[in-house]
Amino acid sequence: MEFSMSDEQRMIADTAREIAEDFPPEYWREKEEKQEFAEEFWRAISDAGFVGIIIPEEYGGAGMGMIELLIAMEELAANGCGMAGVWYLVLTEVFGALSIVKHGTEKQKEKYLPKIAKGKLEFCMALTEPDAGTNTLNIKTTAKKDGDEWVINGNKIFISGADRAGGMLIVARTTPKEKAPRRTYGISLFLVELPNPAIRINPIPKHGINYSKTCEVSFNDLRLPEDSLIPPQDEGWYLILDILNPERMSFTTAAIGISKLAINKAIEYSKHRRVFVDPIGSYQALQFPLAESYAMLEAAKLMNFKAAWLFDNNVNYREVGSFANMAKVVAVEAGIKAVYWAMQIFGGYGYTKEYDVERWWREINLIRLAPVTQQMALAYIGEHILGMPKSYRV
């Protein structure tokens, strides 16, 4: 067992910290309020090679793994960027680069990866549908072969980054569920360049993370060349698990990073704020919830790194998924508690925009819903780890 970071990993953390210090909470407050994409930040992390961490060297990346990506994400998030330190990297590097690195054809790799590594091509993933949220296998978007083209039709919802991405990973059914020998059969993955006149995109006003837009997307006879499929056809479910597990780990890291950021700001404030005689930070009522959530966050972090280690070492998706889900459940509970109490420490000031903690509260609130809800993560643990009956009918 080895718990120490390598020199390289330490340096990645240092760089991430340095970048984060140049993009402090005030920067994000403004970007969020103006609902603007953080161009400067994106340039900075692209130039520093963060978007290429998991891309092999022959395609212009660093050829590292999820462990390194999570280290970078946590430091960015915890040192000032909050969710933004993770969000942009998830959309482009996990949804885009990782799916292509893991399962793309040689041609797809050559076409997309060098541009992604440079930060010149952003990505998004269109999986969720109005009638198939948590029940992913229920997706209705279809891809049908017409000559040597694929024709895609259907509606997606909550597709983050679709408004500006140059690339999209589409999850569609090539065999309807009714005709499939098993529920997981018949899902296929496609890569498409955006914008495309057959794809309509409509941003949805939302609670937080407004330095990025999350959109409704519809495909109306979208015609794609044959080689836009990530093979094998109909077995896309198993491919997508290699994206969904790292996505989960990334959001666990986001919960940890956002919480640490909020906790640190609250501690700083609590040392100086006096209401009665002593600084409020000396009160156990405020210390204990922070201490408790911090301990849980650290535990989740270890478990999350275990999931990443398993993933980087090509252990099967089930084992990766077990640790990714358990880490996520713990990190989110602890994170919500941490940010709740950080906000409490700020009293009325915590409710103002100026102290930023209200923004982190809105950010952490997403992670109980996405990428997987807490309930579905618990259902996974019950069924697949504890071996209990499946708790819902499909």
Partner: protein, 254 residues
Amino acid sequence: MKIGNGGESLKIFVLAKHAIDTESEIRLKDEKSIDEKGLIYDINDWDRYAIEEAIRLKEMHGGEVTVIGVGNNEDTLRKCLAMGADRAIKIPLETGMDPYKTALAIKDVISEENFDLIIAGLMSQDCNNALVGALLASMLNLPFATAVTSVKVEDGKLRVTRELEGGYQEEVILQLPCLITVQSGINEPRYVSIMGIKRAKSKEIKEVDVKVDKEMIELERMYLPPVKKAELITGSADEIAEKLIEIFKEKGVI
């Protein structure tokens, strides 16, 4: 020692110190030393600009950048390698707060090397002496300029701008080889990149042992400056104003 080669390709040495970060909480262990606990070290901020300037000159004119550090400084040397330096020399000598000793150690090593230009930071963020660069230049008999805010290589010479007091600037032309110390803000140092970190792994950090017997500074006593107490003035607005005027008068402010 080789004379400057027409500005086509430059051999540059950069001095980089692994220095206590100014945000560290400083505590004393005893009257002669600082408690290492709680200290955070990083590359001296001015040296970040120095290494960046060297890498830019190399990118423009070609050549080689060697970074050299005295003390236990591997993290800082690695960082410079990751930013783009070609090789590093570590002199594992404890020189404490004695800039003369540091300069002597560097002189010993650097005089064995070929170089066109030595770049140092104007000062180090821990001691603020601003001495190592100037001392080294005189030990090596080199022309030098301090507090440099811009650099241009011109035909075997270096045209630099120096910062003077009161917002004035001075332009100086130095014959290569020479030494400059750079002011912060001369450029915008790049972030260490992931690829740079990867490349740094295979770059050499050469350790060179140097003996320096001479000490120019004798440390007598270290102490933390006495804390100026804040005074909380209470009372009605009139009383507070009254008291403030009294204090301002006493301090000669008004």
